[in-house]
Symmetry: C2
Subunit: 324 residues, 2 copies
């Protein structure tokens, strides 16, 4: 069911990213670029916490009062500890979410529904990922130097902090659609895009059907981190349903350039969180884009679940954003 969110705007945003992301095509649009991905911390996991803390600090600093009623946050680390530790000092009532790389739009949809329903006046949203923390948790430590496959994506080191507001902001969250978990039976931990594309398609098809719209009714259809392979598959699924995506952008295909050797593109909660905010929000704010659909996509397996022979379930949540 598409939920109209009448009182939900994006008021402020900030991104903190690692060195490689700073060297990419969007590098100058991020608020903070770390010099070496360590963010001054002794472990990769703590570096991610610090990155998340920076993103929220910088976003709150763009408000006159630096305050929020609720904080929604999540990440990829086991038990979402990047968020729990990194955002501890803010003392804002905290709702932890887990949608893997779909966290951005899960949190944005939730925040928009809570604002529109009157449960809060302002909601902060943070989601993060760190390449070195994610690689050793989901695959192998980077020191192992495993060969990467052509479909492998590069987990983004970065965090996005968003301030959603019931009344103020240049970008409107018009409505949202919560995704359903989809599992087409894939088991390849180095091809997340293929596992997530069917989830993006399911949510898009449900949205188009219920709203009576088509892809060309929007300036852009943006996905989170399908990367090159997942984007190709989503394109095929949409063409098969006679809903060709001529205006599709994927954050995973935008954050790095071809010289950065990331194979199928970027991924991770930090990918969609930083690219939506740094690239698309300013265009929506200025009215260069008037209406877009944003779907962050998440793969919901764990390393253990795949080791036990289970396939990779995935989900995608949609928010419809427009120039105010």
């Amino acid at each position: 069911m598409i939920v109209k969110t009448e009182h939900a705007f994006i008021r402020a945003f900030a991104a903190a990213v690692g060195k490689k992301e700073g060297e990419g095509p969007l590098g100058r649009q991020f608020d903070y670029v770390d010099t070496d991905d360590r963010f001054g911390q002794p472990t990769w996991e703590m570096a991610e916490s610090e990155c998340a803390r920076l993103a929220l600090s910088l976003a709150l600093a763009k408000l006159p009062d630096a305050a929020a009623d609720l904080l929604i946050a999540g990440d990829l680390q086991n038990q979402c500890v990047s968020s729990a530790y990194g955002l501890l000092d803010f003392e804002i009532p905290y709702l932890g979410i887990y949608g893997a790389c779909s966290n951005l739009t899960e949190g944005m949809a939730l925040g928009a529904m809570l604002l529109s329903g009157g449960a809060a006046k302002r909601v902060a949203l943070v989601t993060s990922s760190h390449n070195c923390a994610a690689e050793r948790q989901f695959r192998s430590p980077i020191e192992y130097g495993g060969q990467r496959t052509p479909t492998a994506q590069w987990t983004v080191t970065g965090a996005g902090g968003y301030i959603l507001d019931a009344a103020h902001g240049d970008v409107r969250i018009c409505d949202c659609l919560i995704g359903r978990v989809q599992d087409v039976g894939l088991r390849d931990l180095t091809d997340m895009g293929a596992a997530m594309a069917p989830a993006a398609a399911d949510t898009l098809f449900r949205y188009f059907e219920e709203s009576g719209t088509r892809p060309e009714d929007y300036d852009a259809v943006i996905t989170g981190d399908l990367g090159a392979h997942g984007s190709l598959l989503l394109g095929t699924l949409c063409r098969d349903r006679d809903l060709p995506l001529e205006n599709h952008f994927d954050c995973g295909n935008l954050i790095y350039d071809a010289s950065q050797d990331v194979h199928a593109g970027g991924s991770g909660c930090g990918c969609s969180a930083t690219v939506l905010g740094a690239k698309f929000l300013p265009m929506l704010g200025r009215g260069e884009l008037s209406s877009v659909l944003m779907l962050a996509t998440g793969a919901l397996m764990s390393k253990d679940s795949v080791a036990q022979g289970r396939s990779i379930p995935a989900i995608a949540h949609l928010v419809h954003l427009a120039h105010r």
Copy 2:
């Protein structure tokens, strides 16, 4: 900020539990008791998924139409895979949450706010834990046979499925208060109660202050899984603030009896989820209790974060429940 939830009721509930829980004092009040904790599955992790699936199936079966607009779920497994796999077949739009053992009241508060704000008419909520899956993930595999300390709690094998409704149900969710992450610097993975008690106290104190009420204004103040040690500490913290808890119950102290050798009591998402539903909801439904505060408490560390020397952050979310 306490959020009033005018249109939120608990309409149906079901619990599925393991063998040991079935042998405890509440055994006859659970809907399904497994014969051997395996739930017919080849791994402990898949057993938990099946337990969660059963709890939601049995709860939905108590409705005339077995339908819900949204499903909120979470668990303790890395990347919350118990919920992702276990609830896949329901095809209900899915919001993953992570608040560790606070999932019950995080989800109930979220669901109540979404229902009251008009974002849904009916929300299903499931949370689960499994002793053997949790022990090998957070501590040691049970085959290791490690000695348990006096403060150690026994992770409950069980899941609770709740159906929240905007209009129907005998128990009203009157209002809720989202917790703040608290970290008092404890590092003992075998004493979760001590880490969580300050979080429960923080939320309770904020609630009493903002509402202008005291513990004795409610028939019961119920916590999720502080166990014997955490309950003692919460009692002390409350007495120190001149808010003695004469009517305190902890689900972790109720699910097993003294003969079951669980040391400081039960714990895990499944503890509060099954005990609130099986013991207290019927009393609220019949009016034997008229108004209670329920706080599920969660410890937000991971095994790795503690191994890296970090302390244990915790959180507690509150829902105020009343006889309709």
